[in-house]
Amino acid sequence: MNWKTFYALLSRDGHVARRSLVMVLVQNLLQPLLFTFVFGRVLTSGGMMQAGFKSVLLPGVIAISMVIAGVQAVAMPLITEFQFSREIEDRLLAPIENGWLAVEKIIAGMIQALVAGLVVIPAAWLMMGSSTNISFAHPFVFAAFCLLVALLAAAGGLALGCSVGATQIGLMFSIILTPMLMFGCVYYPWSFLRAFPGLQYAVLLNPVVYASEGLRGVLAPQVPHIATWITASALAAIDLGVIALGIKKFRKKAVS
């Protein structure tokens, strides 16, 4: 393993991300934050929603922001770099095994997902205003969940970025990401799907469910949620699977 090269690859991604930091944050966070404002503030203050909804919403918004940020941070550049211009070629020729470049992409994506999470927590909190009942009693469990979710997002971005062509980016959002977010228990606890038993079990295939339910269990334990040990182990298992899939796809895509 060639750490100097690995670090250089990582600093390249860091350098490029810093150059467009504000733009990227706006791109990834504006929608969830506006959503938070409308549902968490406007509708609750008008009485359409109960105030307790704020505590349901906040963990979900953190999860979705991290997922979107991580997926985009890895998938979007990868799709263009593998296209026509083959921009990634110079890095594939760097003296390091190709698989490590995939690992580097995952780590860079994780960092960006974590930054998005760090920014969205205070921002969403401010937007929701008072009476958001969030608990930080278990900072380490919270940190562990953040890492698992960031890993999920970045590795998922790697797998998607290596499977989707530039012409299918729009399609990727409408048929993969949107259903994953809508059926990801982001805006409601999983138990609310009781009325739709088929759907309730179908959504368990969706990793975003474990991300939002897991964070809900840590930050708002008073809201009904899937047991933390289940969400944590499901996330860990899915993470491993997605990492393996992503690296495999990357290595295949890297060579013709």
Partner: protein
């Protein structure tokens, strides 16, 4: 001490559409076959890009791969540079088996791709700096080398400009500067002068020669005869994935019978006429290319036109067109393939 290259019986069959879009690699339209097994619903397309290529390139040589588009030049370079996986066969850069010791091989090679694949998210100078960093150069060393390369390739005034704003020619120059940034022992240039203006092309030749004089091994592909002739110490001519001739430019040129080629066209060219043409003084070979045309290989050009006209009249045919080609690698290619390099 330089590093040589050995290619052993290399074959490459593309199963999917070849990456011509992605990497600009050429491929052969020729031997396409489909293996339509009953179980397979989709027809599998197989494109044979390389068909048993073996080559030895000694250390310190400037070696050219010459051939038309789709001959297999870029596929060969792709395999030598870890970017394309061979179907069978082995390639060595120095003592490293490229496909078993990829990282070691990558360390000693520099690659200039057919189309610039620069990192669009960076500036001109950053492209060089990060490239140096990938190869483990210290911050001070890569800054010094980057400035040297910028100077050498006349890019200093573009140092801070984003790469995506550069013109095609400037991108090509930066690609070459980048490939030389880590001082590789072996430099691969895939059609380096495509899209360059004549002046930059001369600058490129000078830089390649200079780099070669340091004892580095240089492999370049081209479909320009003059470039191959001018720059390369040795050449291999490749067509449809096979090496059809190799040697120094001088050896190759002198291997063509006669040296001159007269491409003639009549209203009709009966066998009797071809026989008479073969007997003309100085003619070594006559190839009939279609019912009305022939390629005449001879040791002279213009002086043959009179006798050709007479022979045609004697055979009751009329000469419509004649084109004289002086001894060149172009003729060599024509001789081996029956096609002109640009056809």
């Amino acid at each position: 001490m330089g590093i040589g290259i050995r290619i052993e019986n290399l074959r490459k069959v593309y199963n999917s559409p070849p990456p011509s879009v992605a990497g600009g690699r050429g491929f052969s339209f020729g031997p396409t076959r489909s293996s339509g097994g009953r179980k397979e619903k989709k027809k599998k397309i197989e494109i044979l890009a390389l068909d048993g290529v073996s080559l030895e390139i000694p250390a310190g040589e400037i070696f050219g791969l010459l051939g038309p588009n789709g001959a297999g030049k870029s596929t060969t370079i792709g395999i030598l540079t870890t970017r394309t996986e061979p179907t069978s066969g082995r390639v060595f850069v120095g003592e490293f088996d490229v496909w078993k010791q990829q990282v070691k091989a990558k360390r000693v090679i520099g690659v200039v791709p057919q189309r610039p694949n620069l990192d669009f998210a960076l500036t001109t100078r950053e492209v060089l700096l990060f490239h140096g960093a990938y190869f483990g150069q210290s911050a001070r060393e890569r800054a010094r080398r980057a400035d040297e390369q910028l100077e050498k390739f006349k890019l200093t005034d573009r140092a801070g400009q984003m790469v995506r704003e550069l013109s095609g020619g400037l991108m090509q120059r930066l690609s070459i500067a980048r490939a030389m940034m880590h001082d590789p022992e072996v430099l691969f240039l895939d059609e380096p002068s495509a899209g360059l203006d004549p002046q930059t092309r001369l600058m490129l030749w000078e830089i390649v020669r200079g780099y070669g004089s340091l004892g580095k091994t240089i492999v370049l592909t081209t479909h320009y005869m003059d470039e191959a002739d001018e720059l390369c110490q040795r050449l291999a001519i490749i067509d449809h994935g096979k090496i059809i001739a190799q040697g120094t430019p001088r050896e190759l040129k002198s291997s063509i019978p006669g040296g001159y080629v007269l491409r003639v066209r009549f209203d009709r060219a009966p066998e009797e006429l071809l026989r008479q043409l073969r007997e003309l003084p100085g003619v070594t070979e006559v190839h009939s290319t279609d019912p009305t045309a022939a390629d005449i290989y001879a040791d002279r050009g213009g002086p043959l036109i009179g006798p050709i006209v007479n022979a045609a009249q004697a055979a009751g045919a009329e000469l419509h067109d004649v084109h004289i080609q002086e001894p060149s690698l172009e003729n060599l290619f024509l001789h081996h393939t029956g096609r002109s390099l640009r056809e």
